[in-house]
Symmetry: C2
Subunit: 452 residues, 2 copies
């Protein structure tokens, strides 16, 4: 039977399931979860508390239990595992791939981690200990140890024998990696080649030596952009000696890409923690306050700053009318500029243009934008505002300057952040926006002060 | 030999290559590009003009030429193909997978498209004609026709024979799809099963019927989130009758996810076209102006609006000092709120909470944020601003109200946009920010007017 549609989760279904849980109606639970994909069961379990979820999990096969555990998001899993005993954890983790097992062990309190590690299956334990050495943001932290290798002098039939041995451990594999006596990676053999070649053929005669591999210390975002660029479904990981130590599959990289996009959105919108709509009110507040406070501090500085020009304001009240116009334009121009830079930093591959060439171009675009916008504002003011041409010309002059300055700041900031190892998307966040706001205000009031 | 590092592109190398191109030094060009990955050659060719790039391509094998063509971004390809004759296009497109061929044909002017289509290899032509029927944003537009199918009554040896026939056409395959007499999809057989099973075994005894498939009309973003959720490396596409019509591989979906993230960034930063830093000045300006104009219009409305309160401003100049504070906070709160909603819309899977429950929670978070922020601002004002307590209380009151209103607008807008089929990330863009700015200003001046 083909499962054409994803398992739908309705409120009614959840309530019905909750009833079954309350009554400990194991038959109902098992019947309803039979044949359901682990990812769907996970989504369902998010609706219940830890005790209830554990009750359901304990009814299921340990393989499915293990799969569900890997589907959980990190925070939920950390909370959830608090009600588990070490021996229960060992049973589950023994059924995981080495990369997932290492991730989960990293989340456990150190005492429990040691206890669980000691109880794991010996092969898995050695693999996990090896993986725990790597930072989670590099290739070594992304890779799994499960892979099928063949010695370059083997025959096809020996290869197939090796696959037969490994088939239980390696859930997804696309190729057999070919190594020499020292486990140095030489190339790979595609599965379809094994099917199509005579069984006495030697691996050395059919393997493909043109293989892209990554070193353990390569950053995860670079692994992602490399796999994307070369359309790879999996990539072998080698150490500095070129020895094969693991492999990364595309599904891990899809997660990296998605997390990167989410992190960027959070930076751009000024949220300082990884929160979701269903987090607690306190957590949501805490994630939002820091950046709001930066905005508030910027605002308080504005108060002091405008205060310096109180005399000008008393003289010509209309000065105040244009504050929002100047600020909003400065902010928008700054965000647009930094966004374009962030995008080109995310898609490298062209020869880097020199910084000056880049800035001159940004300057020209800003000149054109600034000129058009100031002209439009001047015309609109003259049409709507009556007889105050001197003020209007000064406003347009200030607006023009703000567009130029905001463009340059918006362009330079992400470049500087990137150079010092920060995420350039920070430049589109509240900190830079606040700086831009203040600069815009400064330019406006100084222009007014000197020209009016 | 293992290619451990990506091919590096330096300015010196580009200049050396340019020299070779100027001198038509074919030997140098060929020697330097031998064994280089198509994606790397593509990156290099971006450095030269169309004529030069075509000169290089014509030196290369048609297979590599075809690969390079698929690597190009859409706009570059459209421009590049203008210097090609239809018969040259036919030669290249004949070497593409059906999905890439259909994408490229879609980019050609209609007259040339017909000419090229007529000249294509017959099998490919039929496949492409079928694919051209689908919108590019649905599963049908993402899928390729190249796949290996086996009849459920076949033996393993017949399967392998079929793979042998198809191996030239299908570049990446992970599984054999099993169908019945009517081409209805029944399940699949993994490659490793074919390797491990006796060749006389029947397909019906080894195929896996638990298979997730998608229908042709499913949206590309939904295909992406489904493949991500279920960790699929490829997914078969069926029509409404359940007949197998194509398959989508994970690399296409990685592109969808990346494009989605880029589109969202553009929406959030108010860029209306898909531009890059190296586009022309005019194109960059055109992409930025529309949203900047919306900001300008908002600013001009502010001018008129504040003008209504000129009397209040003349009476108490200090009112103007707080305009940036109020506006920036309103803007930041709005963007944060919509960003959280956009995130939960992008990661569905939980039971939808009712709208009211959602809004009440947002309201509580806003209440807490607003209360804390107003208190901080009140304290800061009293410390720094001297003796104007009445004004300060009114400012904090307005700030509190602005936080509440901006939270609600920031939450509701993406939900409404999503409901009507727009991208909810629009809510974090300039249009909504401008609306929020105006509302903030309105609340502030009305509060001032009535309480001061």
């Amino acid at each position: 039977m083909v499962e054409s549609v994803a398992f739908g989760l309705t409120k009614e279904y959840r309530d019905r399931f909750q009833q079954a849980l309350d009554k400990r109606d194991d038959a109902f639970i098992l019947k309803n979860l039979e044949g359901v994909n682990a990812a769907d069961i996970t989504a369902l379990l998010y609706e219940f508390n830890s005790q209830e979820s554990k009750y359901v999990l304990d009814l299921l096969d340990v393989e499915i239990r293990a799969e569900i555990i890997t589907e959980l998001d990190r925070d939920t899993r950390i909370a959830f595992f608090k009600i588990y005993q070490p021996d229960e954890l060992i049973k589950i983790i023994d059924h995981l791939d080495s990369d997932d097992a290492a991730d989960i062990l990293n989340e456990l309190p150190i005492k429990i981690r040691e206890e669980v590690l000691a109880g794991l299956d010996k092969v898995l334990r050695m693999q996990v200990i090896d993986l725990l050495r790597y930072d989670e943001n590099v290739a070594g932290g992304l890779m799994a140890k499960e892979l099928v290798t063949a010695h370059v002098n083997w025959t096809v039939v020996q290869c197939i024998e090796e696959i037969r041995k490994q088939v239980e451990n390696v859930s997804k594999f696309y190729a057999v990696y070919v190594v020499d006596d020292y486990n140095k990676l030489l190339g790979r053999v595609h599965l379809q080649q094994l099917i199509l070649t005579d069984s006495k053929t030697l691996v050395k005669d059919i393997y493909d030596p043109e293989l892209i591999s990554v070193q353990t210390h390569l950053e995860d975002t670079e692994v992602a952009s490399m796999m994307r660029k070369y359309d790879l479904e999996s990539v072998p990981v080698v150490n500095v000696y070129g020895q094969l130590v693991g492999r990364i599959t595309i599904d891990d990289v899809v997660d990296v890409i998605t997390e990167q996009a989410e992190e960027e959105r959070q930076l751009m919108s000024g949220i300082s923690e990884d929160v979701e709509e269903d987090d607690s009110i306190w957590r949501l507040t805490r994630a939002r306050l820091p950046w709001l406070l930066i905005g508030i501090i910027g605002g308080l500085i504005s108060v002091q700053f405008i205060g310096l020009f109180a005399i000008d304001l008393m003289r010509i009240t209309a000065i105040a009318f244009f504050i929002p116009l100047i600020q909003a334009t400065g902010g928008n121009v700054g965000i647009q500029s930094s966004s374009i830079v962030v995008q080109s930093l995310a898609n490298p591959g062209f020869v880097e243009e020199g910084l000056w060439k880049r800035l001159i171009k940004v300057f020209l675009v800003a000149l054109l934008n600034g000129f058009l916008l100031s002209l439009i504002v001047l015309a609109a003011n003259m049409l709507l505002g009556g007889d105050n041409n001197r003020l209007f010309i000064v406003v347009s002059l200030a607006l023009f300057t703000v567009v130029l300055v905001a463009s340059l700041i918006g362009t330079i900031t992400p470049l500087i952040l990137n150079k010092f190892g920060f995420n350039p998307a920070l430049a589109s966040g509240p900190f830079i926006t606040t700086t831009n706001d203040l600069l815009g205000l400064g330019i406006y009031f100084l222009t007014i002060h000197f020209f009016l």
